[in-house]
Symmetry: C2
Subunit: 280 residues, 2 copies
């Protein structure tokens, strides 16, 4: 893989737009789709989702929790989804929000980043509660393998504000993280964008974050069912529309389980994202 994650995203964005389809097979969804809340039902979900995704969207995101809840068989299915999707040319984000002390982060990085990883993906989400300073293992492996580590910075749920907006040394936690991401990306590459991305929800909060200086790709979750519109994404990321990956899950999955219906719903949303997030 010769191109950086940022370059692969730019190519995907040019071809089909920046939309990411979140594959969140909850218990309710598996039942609604008539598949059953079992490892076999999860396998059926993945077959349908893959068929609908290829050609309709350029990026998928698997929320690890919904695979973990089927035990090791669910993780086996997550591995299959990731491999088959990447083979079909899709970019795959595993939304795992891992994070720990340094030596443990090294082990998580070995699980998800780089071609020898059993669950190798294009980008992995991590949480910074134990500090960005403990993430050298994630960052080094993302850089070496041309993948991306997406640090949860501002989440889409209001319950996170007490932590994320708390202040340290005159800065909010989330602003401090973005500043540090920008500094580290600048050390790692002379490209516009580095291997450290951030998860920033498309919510209107003042003061706005300094997104541009982070030199980062942004994952913007919460489109649709969680209340944000593509217009919100366009406004919150107005300074860097070509760096944002808007992600929608339940609002797309509700068109299933018919593959054609799903693909239409996803294609429509992908077009809307491409149009409204065009860089003028």
């Amino acid at each position: 893989m010769s191109d950086s994650f940022a370059a692969r995203f730019a190519a995907t964005r040019a071809a089909v737009g920046p939309l990411c389809w979140g594959l969140d097979p909850s218990s309710d969804l598996l039942e609604e789709w008539g598949l059953g809340d079992t490892p076999e039902g999860l396998d059926g979900f993945v077959d349908i989702a893959l068929e609908a995704a290829v050609g309709a969207v350029g990026i998928i995101k698997a929320q690890s929790a919904f695979y973990e809840r089927q035990g090791w068989r669910g993780i086996r299915t997550l591995g299959r989804l990731t491999e088959q999707a990447r083979s079909a040319g899709l970019l795959v984000i595993i939304d795992a929000k891992r994070g720990d002390v340094g030596s443990t982060n090294d082990a998580y990085a070995q699980a998800y980043l780089g071609k020898d990883a059993p669950l190798a993906c294009d980008a992995l989400t991590v949480h910074p509660y134990l500090g960005l300073g403990a993430m050298d293992g994630f960052i080094a492996r993302a850089h070496a393998s041309k993948s991306c580590v997406l640090i949860v910075t501002r989440s889409s749920n209001p319950e996170g504000r007490n932590v994320q907006s708390a202040t340290h040394a005159g800065q909010s936690v989330e602003s401090g993280l973005l500043g540090e991401i920008g500094r580290r990306n600048g050390e790692l590459t002379t490209d516009d964008l580095g291997p450290i991305g951030a998860v920033v929800a498309p919510v209107h909060i003042t003061p706005p974050l300094d997104l541009v200086s982070a030199r980062a790709i942004f994952l913007a979750p919460g489109l649709g069912a969680q209340g944000a519109s593509v217009q919100d994404v366009a406004e919150v990321f107005a300074t860097c529309r070509d760096r944002v990956i808007p992600s929608a899950s339940r609002s797309l999955l509700s068109a299933g389980p018919d593959v054609a219906h799903l693909a239409d719903r996803v294609s429509d949303m992908a077009r809307t994202c491409r149009d409204l997030l065009a860089v003028s």
Copy 2:
């Protein structure tokens, strides 16, 4: 299971002391033990660790990262470890530091808490970067299944201070969390201790946290290789020595792979913990 996690811990503590043995099969350790850094090597590690643990210690902690890095086979082994250890009467903590928005936390809770969970354990660690307010799913399942959710509050690594000591509404993030844990535990039970515990490192930081009001079991990681002594645990948790689970990993694993040597090392540390953390 009729007793709460706190009651099961109290019984374990009275029998063999409060020590928790952290089972962290890193790549280096698997090679040092001559097992090989493979799923089969991990299986061999688990066999040795289980044989050494039973009778020597009352609680084990599996660090999920070291199982995830072997892919789905590693998770299958983690499930076997958890089941066999619990069948042998050990309490099992899965150190996964999961955490997300509410609907995703529900899915994580279904994976790890309660008897129908594929990886059912006695206690699960979670991180609060997306807010304790998003953790109703974890808390409800822990309460209903008499297990425990351990919220990472103050970690053992210095890199976490920027987030954990940041202030919101005049309180540090970590103090605010402990206060909220105490309030929620008080709502859930009239017992001394509730189903919401906290991970608090045995490090000397001023001002000290108000531990007693949290009505919580504490997991205190970082004993040994990470620099803290049992005496540090006794001092930091002086106000609530009967509520703390000190955890040691690498300093015990370095006695392996000989089962008898391992069991001796673990027994010695268990006795030290029982003596130094006795409530006078």
